[in-house]
Symmetry: D2
Subunit: 337 residues, 4 copies
């Protein structure tokens, strides 16, 4: 997670580039093009599935977005949180394409890929990473031991769940670095549960980026970043927002309510009072004075345990299809029940 960055007027916690670009466009109009940023969108499956590619091209784009240069692909579908195996297969294919488009190229040998499942396996909305790490089709140990037994079209895949610093006492970045030093991957694919700004994004969005990760940063600490510059191999991050923090939710509800009231109050003295309440003021007001006690709470759907099963299966199989070029949608079920 990236923590709180100041973007445009104000932005409470979001890990999603698409939420930022949408917010920036909302402040202007829909045809507005953010300088230094390229946004392409397409709808699939009769609207049940949308893919958006936000490309931050230069430092101007970085400044406008509050995020580093790179590609941010977003897959949106309410089907992610529903028991809909057919739509899930479509999402898996689209996800696999997105990951493939960010993988490094290698002339002859198979890619050596390390999957990192970030998160705390004991907090349900944070289990996405560990679950995916456990469901990808791991091959590296077989490749090393009996390379002749390994099918063509299968890469060297290892996977690992480094847990979280509160449970291990070790910086997660240190653990990853230690493992990567030994595995020496061509590419790391890191999976993490994210925080979204909008409750409608919970369990409906997958973001794939090639800009690296900073594990643990989202909970308030800015630790060592892991990206191509710092760890010497490409780092692809796959994230799904599974929670919204309660302060953000309440703050956004207020904003919406005030917008709603403003429309009705135009030309009244009330209007001036209301429009002076900026979003940031609400946020601070709520966080500090009104609801200090809710600042540790998170918002999730009741059926989160079930949805995590769908999400982890979709992300794991998207990775399987992307990295093992010889595998098909049919094959993957054989290896990941």
């Amino acid at each position: 997670m990236d923590g709180y960055e100041k973007v445009g007027n104000f932005s409470p916690r979001t890990d999603l580039a698409i939420e930022i670009s949408n917010a920036l466009k909302l402040d202007r109009d829909d045809s507005y093009e953010i300088p230094g940023v390229e946004v392409k969108q397409k709808a699939l499956e009769e609207g049940a599935l949308a893919v958006t590619k936000v490309r931050i091209l230069n430092t101007e784009g970085e400044k406008n977005m509050g995020k580093p240069i790179g590609d941010y692909i977003t897959i949106e579908s309410n089907g992610l949180k529903q028991n809909n195996p057919e739509l899930h297969e479509k999402i898996i294919s689209v996800l696999a394409e997105a990951i493939k488009s960010l993988l490094p190229e290698k002339k002859q040998d198979p890619l050596n890929i390390l999957v990192i499942g970030l998160g705390n396996r004991f907090a349900t909305p944070d289990t996405l990473g560990p679950k995916v790490a456990n469901q990808v089709f791991v091959t590296r140990h077989m490749a090393l031991k009996e390379p002749e037994l390994l099918d063509e079209g299968v890469c060297y895949l290892s996977s690992f769940a480094p847990s979280v610093m509160g449970l291990t006492g070790i910086e997660t970045a240190e653990v990853i670095r230690g493992v990567a030093d030994n595995v020496k991957p061509d590419c790391i694919i890191a999976i993490d549960a994210l925080a979204a700004r909008s409750a409608t994004r919970i369990n409906t969005t997958i973001q794939i980026t090639n800009t690296g990760i900073s594990p643990g940063a989202g909970v308030g600490n800015k630790r060592k970043e892991l990206n191509e510059a710092t760890i010497g191999c490409k780092v692809i991050a796959v994230g799904v927002p599974t929670v919204v923090d309660t302060v953000t939710l309440v703050s956004d509800a207020l904003n919406d309510l005030i917008s709603h009231m403003l429309k009705q109050a135009e030309h009244s003295p009330f209007y001036d009072v209301l429009k002076d309440l900026t979003a940031e003021e609400h946020y601070q007001l709520i966080k500090e004075s009104i609801y200090p006690e809710i600042s540790d709470l998170f918002v999730t759907p009741k059926e989160i345990d079930e949805v995590m099963e769908y999400l982890s299966s979709i992300v794991a199989n998207g990775i399987n299809l992307a990295v093992h070029p010889g595998m098909t949608l049919k094959d993957i079920n054989k290896y990941t029940y």
Copy 2:
């Protein structure tokens, strides 16, 4: 759960009598006595623990409170959600006393008690009941088979988790009735996770009542009630609020924000606009127009998995101490790890 009842001005979903009596007092002043209702409160452990007994005495009290005649004992302590074994022991003792005060009396034979653990074992905040059912010290089968082996001072205890209708296809009340017909208990003790109105109550409050249960009612359906009149034995309910629904949370936040603004806006034209916004209007506004999408979301702390371990251990041991008169705090650890 009891669903939405209209109490005083307006009351969003709460299962706690204490939240209703507090709300009624808040509308007046602290010395106000609700007609037909008796409220007694005491603080223990230097304020770390509070016990409140709300007794609804007659139909007038019923009408004022929107809840049936009977006793509602509330134990409040932030220690419930903290890893604090010493305070937990105190809470267990207080809980045991509260349950004992509501148990039926029996002259000679040991009591025959059936513990019912309500809730869905696959949704973390709803697992309290099934976990407790699994942690009480079950004796009935031994008592029937080899009564001579059973210690004096141990009652006949059986326990059961009926799951939820969405998983079984059977009304929970039907399952309980079927089991009770065979076990023929003197008293049922039913454990359930509740919804609170205020986020500060999450995992900090235990309510013990003798007014029966209506399983499943809280999720919107009013099913058969289970109480002394309908099932022929006393029914004690032990509940802990583990979630707040998101609409209630946002609605309450608005109320608080408006109160806050009203204090600053006195004697301004703004004041009149604001004070006309009633709580109920907010609630409906939020529920229907602004945030239809959050109505399925619930608010819980991130560490809910861990807190459920404390809560279930405390409630199970409170029951163990209350029903097995020969057991001590020291004994209980031998049987419930």
Copy 3:
């Protein structure tokens, strides 16, 4: 489970009719026909799957087999314990046919079926029943509430896991009776993990019978039987052996070793000593004098947790296909992930 019955020479614990009929044939020769018993066998999928129907026709058959009159269908496949989704689909179809052949017939209305998942959800090899109860497609609550919404071709299905007496303090048969009194099913389908005699049967065999169940009997207590005569509706039992008890395993190993030695020792004085050691003597010797300490141990494969996922999915979907006549193999995945 049926406990220890004396069959032919001697039979340590087995719940499988096929093990008894095979043992009886082994004592004679393969063409031997057990009086009062009909045995039909067919191989499918090029031998990857075998289906055997043992029908006990009369009291003579009962006496010879040590099991009640009725049908015992056995499906055998090593694929059950392997990650082989294609073979699993075949097994699901065959299992559905077997269950269908034992279901009661009903002219107009849909069948009202109650699935009972026997076993202890906290002991891995015993979790089959509770897992299946949780994975069948439950419809009864929808049928009662909004019958018009229910598809044609869907029966009234409810499901229930009564846990075990050691955890509830209640005879499992009592719990089932209580629930059945309220649900009033046309047929009960009970799922249970069984004990096999031979280690090769662990997680490779499904037995389907229409002779009822006696829950808890297998662990040494003969409790009330549940069958058409005692509970007033058909009772189909679906069982999978997931353990072998250690004494049986050692005893069988000795028998095999002695057979092996006998073949080599013919015409020697040793022969006479060896052939006098009957199987039953070994069993008692091992159980009482040599290995009292192993009598509580069970034999399971290391990967039991994973295999239970396959088994429960196969059995649940076999039931889904059998009872919901409008469902296809493709549909079932939508409802049971």
Copy 4:
């Protein structure tokens, strides 16, 4: 695990030094002293608890024992697998003393200790390591961030569960090395579930050694050893046998049966035949010809899930007491529920 070494006559798989020294003594008589090996034993708690220290002094001892020079402390108690909190407290104290006696000394600063929880968290009898890693009182992250907040008497503790190669695709030794390179501990404490030779040892024995570990070796592969020489810090291993492999069990049962028969057959021609059957012949006979199908099976008690809770709590708290010199038995419950 150490795999199969040839010791004395013959030794099937055991990880326990005490089983080897006992076997060597059994071959002679009880007063026999194994050259190069020192054995000291004491009984505690009126025999409910025994502590044995086997010290392998030199290469002669190494040769006799088939294990490297070093200390092997064994704690034996049936209480380990029983719900007996009082005896568990005694075992925790004795375990803490044993670990302390092997810890490195450090003059001024607190020790920097890395706990490694070996094993597969998805196979119940193999979960000891991961569970313990999760229950020790982790402090290193606090010590690094806010050293002034850390109590005196608390060491720098981090903990980590590297999973198993079959799930990660990475040699477990590589993962540990990677993490240790970053944490730079003074001492590693590695926890693992072991295989015992005798079924009576299952869940009744803890072995503590200072001779290092070779993760994964027990399943047949001799991988890189991790000990003071190869990783540059002390490596203490804490192991508990939780399974016996089935072939060993059957083989031992045969040996015992033959001993039993030999006593009765003395002076008969049978005697000579029997005494020629060596233990190793049985083992091979069983493994290769008679029971190839059981070679993947393991023997565990039915209540293994519950026993793993006791074991992990005992081992985690033994470590807590040993490494945090300021902690008492009373404190540890505050941090590890």
